[in-house]
């Protein structure tokens, strides 16, 4: 059982469309991180959210941390082919030495 469940697992859209991906858990996190990973590379940190209800914007990307700090979402406006990649969320696992645990990711493909 994954500590962090990400949905959808796969998403294929056309350039210009909007999309939202989700990261859910039954655990409470002090913070959640979002990463993007491209083929053959390591994950790259996009944002860290720390406060329940927090919304952070990074250009066309909007990240939200749930009020109860158990879930998070990533919304992309007007997706571009350069947004293609694996989007991963990660949070501390208090049951396992506070190790940072990752979800399985959402694989996004944006077609031109």
């Amino acid at each position: 059982t994954q500590l962090l469940e990400q949905s959808p697992q796969f998403l294929s859209i056309q350039e210009g469309e909007n999309l939202t991906v989700y990261c859910n858990s039954s655990s409470v996190f002090s913070s959640l991180q979002w990463y993007r990973q491209e083929p053959g590379e390591g994950p790259v940190l996009l944002v860290t959210v720390v406060t329940g209800g927090e919304v952070k914007k990074l250009k066309r990307l909007t990240f939200q941390f749930g009020d109860a700090r158990k879930d998070s979402s990533l919304h992309i406006t007007a997706a571009q082919p350069g947004d293609t990649g694996l989007y991963l969320c990660a949070g501390e696992d208090y049951l396992h030495n506070n190790d940072m645990r990752f979800g399985a990711g959402t694989r996004l493909t944006v077609k031109p």
Binding site: Q6, S31, Q33, Y35, G40, E41, G42, P43, V44, L45, T48, L88, A90, E92, H96, N97, N98, D99, M100, R101, F102, G103, A104, G105, R107
Partner: protein
């Protein structure tokens, strides 16, 4: 250095062979982490160092896996008697503070044949 450097980028090992994977973290980063990423999955935690101390090795899948960071900078992940299920990408990450936000290397893709 400017980023986290891992070597080799690719390693093909025959089953039963020992391998050593190297990680050069960002200079001054206290925390260093190793993750294993299977195809189509998210990274799975292996082990964590704070300086030279290995504070958590709970994610190492068996006693064939061993990691060290003797001088608190470069780290090596060693896998003895490799098996096919060890085939994966091994990622190293470093950070100034634990769980503050990691910088990952590009990984080493290990294929055991």
């Amino acid at each position: 250095g400017a980023g986290v450097s891992q070597s080799p980028r690719y390693k093909v090992a025959k089953r039963g062979q020992d391998v050593a994977l190297r990680c050069d973290p960002i200079s001054g980063h206290v925390s260093l982490f190793w993750y294993q990423q299977a195809l189509g999955q998210g990274p799975e935690f292996l082990t964590y160092f704070q300086n030279e101390a290995q504070l958590d090795k709970s994610g190492l899948p068996s006693d064939r896996f061993f990691a060290e960071r003797p001088e608190g900078s470069v780290s090596t992940l060693k896998i003895q008697r490799t098996q096919q299920e060890d085939s994966a990408v091994y990622l190293c990450a470093s950070s100034q503070l634990r769980n503050y936000g990691y910088t990952f290397g590009s990984g080493t893709r290990l294929t055991v044949v």
